[in-house]
Structures are given as structure tokens and as C-alpha cells.
Symmetry: C2
Subunit: 322 residues, 2 copies
């Protein structure tokens, strides 16, 4: 029996900026509690205002430091700021390896900053499935900007693009050559590029190479072209971070002017609806023939009796006739 929760009251208090209510709501959506749908419905009228900024990059480029410095810059502009730090965690054990409780200590006491680490459980290798819901909580809580920080490995990079209005790709000098960068697909996902640790050797070369490679891949979106800036920062000393905040604004304005913002958000909503609908349909597979249908079909595939396409046809057909 779940403990009774007054969702309406929690949402009211979150909207007033009460950190405990915000944290409680995120926990409710994160745990896929029986209240998940109720929370989502209660938040809806207050959503759609926050700018969502994704920040990604390989381990070692200084993501946490840059996020922290960026929070400072955004606070300086009077913004209420949310941070969702996606914890890389072992997808097989389901737990986060490193707690990030001590991170960004300088902002921990600021009542206008909400920081939350999220595990990636429930969605192998990528963002937590709960991330869009946590985003919705921070949006309803009046955050002007929500930063989603994620480690840049494969799927999570792609997922952060799907969620963000603006994606910042962070690099550092000497962290791998251009081909490495292109391999990981980062050139095509970044709206703003930042070479951090710019006081190190090779920073200017990294900027030059990056600019060249970006210029080769630039494409029109909605008949307009965004010229991705390549900025330099030394996040540990907060150098250059104001320029990053300005670039986020500039990108936002460009998107709004060209209908790109609207389009990205509609696309995002489509993906989210579809993912929920697919999960609902998939759960039905487990109900066909008392949950034995899939296992029986799999055995026949392993025994080389039928191919997986024919097996899938049977599964879908038994779903339709159920």
C-alpha cells in the first residue's frame, strides 16, 4: 500500500520553489511510483517555459566544473536554474556507481538552484527513462534553464540531443583528434562547442580544427542556418563561461525566430509519447498466452524451426486476436 501523497500540495509547493517538494516530486517520477501519471498530469499546466540545455563530452573534459561555472553565470543573470546530472552507472547492476552528492558544493545552498543526480537504470546505456519527467518537475518549479549533464558515450549523447533545446559539446585540448570526434557523431549534435581547459597547449589548434570540421558538415534547418560557435573556457576559473551563456541565448533566439524551437519540442513530445505507447504495447506481449507465447516462439527460433520475422508475426497476430 503506497503511502498517501498529496500531489496537488507538492506541486503547489514546488511552484513556490520549495526544494524539498521539488526533490520529492522527482523521486516520485524516478521510482515509477503509482503516482507517476498523477504527477505528470498535475505538472502539465505549468510546463513548457524552461529552456533545456544539454551538456555532453568525454570523461575528463571538465563537464562538472563547466556545469558548475555555467550555473554561476546563469544565476548572475537572475535565472532560476535546474541541473540534472546523469550518473553513468552499470546497466546490469542497476545502481549508480558514484554518488555526486558533494558536487557543485558552491551552489548547494542557493535556493534558486536545484541539483539532482539521476542514475541511468531502466534505460541501458542512455539517459534514465525518468529524465523527461524530472525535467518536467524542474520546468513546473519555475526553472528558467535546466542543464542536463551527461557523459558523452554513445547513446546518452544522442538521448540528450533528443531532450535539449540547445546542446553544448565540451572538448579539451589533446583529448583525441578530429576523426575520433567525428566517429562519436559529436559534430552533428552540437549547437555550441566549447573547448575547455583552454589554458593548455593545443587549445587554439583544437578550436581551428573543430571550426574547420564543423564548417564542412553545416546544414540548413528549416531553411535557415545556425553557425555553431566554438568557444574557449577555463571553467575552473570561470573564464569564458559568460560567453557560453550568451551563446545559449543567441541559439534560443535563433531557434525561436525560425520555428526550430517549436519543431524540436514537437519532435521531442512525439518521441516521448511513442516511447510510452511502445512500452504499453510491449507489456502486452507478456500477457499473451499467460506470458508463455514469447518464450515458446524463442525456443522454436533457437531450434531453427522458424525465423524471427515469422515468430514476430505470430506474436503480433496473437496480440490482435487476444
Amino acid at each position: 500500500m503506497p503511502r498517501s501523497v498529496d500531489i496537488g500540495d507538492l506541486v503547489s509547493r514546488a511552484r513556490e520553489g520549495q526544494a524539498r517538494a521539488v526533490a520529492r516530486l522527482i523521486s516520485l517520477v524516478e521510482d515509477a511510483s503509482p503516482h507517476l501519471r498523477e504527477v505528470a498530469a498535475a505538472l502539465t499546466p505549468y510546463t513548457g517555459r524552461a529552456r533545456v540545455v544539454g551538456l555532453t563530452g568525454s570523461p575528463g573534459v571538465g563537464k562538472s566544473t563547466t556545469t558548475s561555472a555555467l550555473v554561476g553565470a546563469l544565476r548572475g543573470r537572475g535565472h532560476r536554474v535546474g541541473v540534472l546530472a546523469i550518473d553513468p552507472s552499470s546497466p546490469f547492476s542497476g545502481g549508480a556507481l558514484l554518488g555526486d552528492r558533494v558536487r557543485m558544493g558552491e551552489h548547494a545552498l542557493d535556493p534558486e538552484v536545484f541539483i539532482r543526480s539521476m542514475a541511468t537504470r531502466g534505460h541501458l546505456g542512455g539517459l534514465s527513462w525518468a529524465t523527461p519527467q524530472a525535467l518536467r518537475v524542474l520546468d513546473a518549479a519555475g526553472c528558467d534553464v535546466v542543464l542536463i549533464e551527461t557523459v558523452g558515450v554513445g547513446q546518452s549523447e544522442i538521448d540528450v540531443v533528443a531532450l535539449a533545446d540547445t546542446t553544448i559539446v565540451l572538448l579539451a585540448p589533446g583529448m583525441g583528434d578530429g576523426i575520433q570526434a567525428a566517429k562519436a557523431g559529436i559534430l552533428e549534435i552540437g549547437d555550441v562547442f566549447v573547448v575547455n581547459k583552454a589554458d593548455r597547449d593545443g587549445a587554439d589548434r583544437a578550436v581551428r580544427e573543430l571550426k574547420h570540421m564543423i564548417s564542412l558538415g553545416r546544414k540548413e534547418i528549416q531553411g535557415a542556418m545556425w553557425r555553431q560557435p566554438v568557444l574557449k573556457t577555463v571553467a575552473a576559473r570561470a573564464e569564458g563561461v559568460g560567453e557560453v551563456a550568451s551563446a545559449i541565448d543567441a541559439h534560443h533566439d535563433w531557434m525561436a525566430a525560425h520555428g526550430v524551437l517549436e519543431q524540436r519540442r514537437r519532435k521531442r513530445a512525439e518521441s516521448e509519447i511513442e516511447a510510452i505507447a511502445v512500452a504499453a504495447l510491449r507489456s502486452r506481449f507478456g500477457d499473451v498466452r499467460g506470458g508463455t507465447a514469447l518464450a515458446q516462439l524463442a525456443e522454436r527460433v533457437v531450434a531453427a524451426e522458424i525465423d524471427p520475422f515469422a515468430a514476430a508475426d505470430e506474436l503480433v497476430a496473437s496480440l490482435d486476436s487476444a
Copy 2:
């Protein structure tokens, strides 16, 4: 109008080990040609014999060199060998960046070795959706072992585990500490660990640390316990590679003796059937209300009129009543 293809003839010739027929069949499944289902059905009676070995590791640990050396060791044991090299490619442009046509030149003329590079298009950040089908082609073509080589970034690692009977995780001295390894979840996916470039400083330390970390996470499977070996190789000189081949055999025998092989393959078939069935269901979303249903629901979510769960309910309901 697709060119007419005699699938039965191609399958016969592939079973005789004719490389061109094997290549043609892989192209047919890779392109999701109209013949995909026919090919899958025609291959089915001849599948289920090949051992599938996944090989993963970070860029720079020597995956291609190790794969090549391992092919040599397996050929020395008289095996017919298939290699599927998964090309990391930009998920957004859909094309493979680097062709691997010159790789493994020493085996290129061996009629008992089939090498194929596959792009990752169609499955963001992970293995190509066509990989299981290409595997089926190589299996039917009489390969005793199929090696799947994939770059160790997030999702593709996890996907290779889902496909492989045995997963080899490759590391190199000084390529990142233990926590880095654990973060990426590699400790839990490896059945066999290989520290390559073992002539470098730090190899023994890497082996020691790895052994310690593995011992902490070891779990029983089906009431039995596999003690993952940590081996040393210098793949560029083919040193230690025979031991890797022996470890693959030992793991296979252990799995067969404890019912783990059967269980892994059933699980693999379940995932494959489910993925095909979900794709079939998902394609129906596009048909609801002339393809406008999802877009209309997304607009209402963006406008904060409904939440995505309620939108998904509507989508599924309109599917059921269609």
C-alpha cells in the same frame, strides 16, 4: 521493381562456402531489401551451430589487431571463421566514416574466413539492426565461430553482449583506471578479459586490479559460477592469442554443461522477436488517422494541454479501435 534473386540458389552456394554468395546474402539483409524475410526463412534450417564471440574495448586497445590474431589462432584449429566488424558511424548522417576494406589483409585471401564491416545505421549508437541477420548468414555458411568486433562505447557494448555466446573485453595498460572501467559497465559484461599490449609498463598492475575488481562482482548464473579469466596478449606479435581461443572453448563448454548457452540463446531470440514485433506495432502509429495522430498529440503536449502518458493512452486506444 527489385531485380529478381534466386535466394535458394544463393543459400546453397553460401553453404558451400562461396564468398560471393555469402556477401550477397549479407547485402540483402543489410539493405532491408524486400527479400529480407525470404532470406531469413531460407537460412533458418541451417542456423544454430556457430559460436558467437563478441569482442569489445575502448578505442586504442588494439581490437582489430587482436581480432586478426584470433582469426589466425582459430584457423590454426581448423575452424571456418566469420568476422563482423561494426563500424562506428555518425548516427545522424547514416554513413560509415571509415571503410575497413584493408583491415586484416593477411586473412583476406583465406577462403575459410569471411570478413564484413557493417555500419551502425538504423540503430542509433548501437549495433546495426541487421547484425543478427548477418550473423545468421555466416552461421548458415558453416562458420564454426563468428567474431563480432565492436567499439566499446555504451550501447554497442551492451548490444554485443545480447548477441554473443561469449564476450571478450579487451583492455590495455594505462588506458584508464579501474573506476573508468566499472563506470562503463565492462566488468559485468566480460566472460573473458584480455589485457593487450602486455609488453608495456603497467600490464601486470592492470591484470591485478582487474582480477580484484572482477572477484568482487562475480555472481552465480544458473547455480554455477564462471571464473572469468584475465589473460595477457601482445596481439601484434600473436602472443597469448592461443590462450584466448582456449578460454573461448572453456567458456563454451562451461555454458553447455550448465544450461547457460541454451538460456542465452533463448534470451537472444526473445529480444530479437520482440524488437521485430515492436517495430511492426510502431509502424502502425504512423497509420493512425492518416499519420496525423501522433503529431496532433505532440502539439497538445507541447502546448501543455495534456501530459505524455495521457497522450500515449489516446494513441494506443486509437490503434485498438482502428
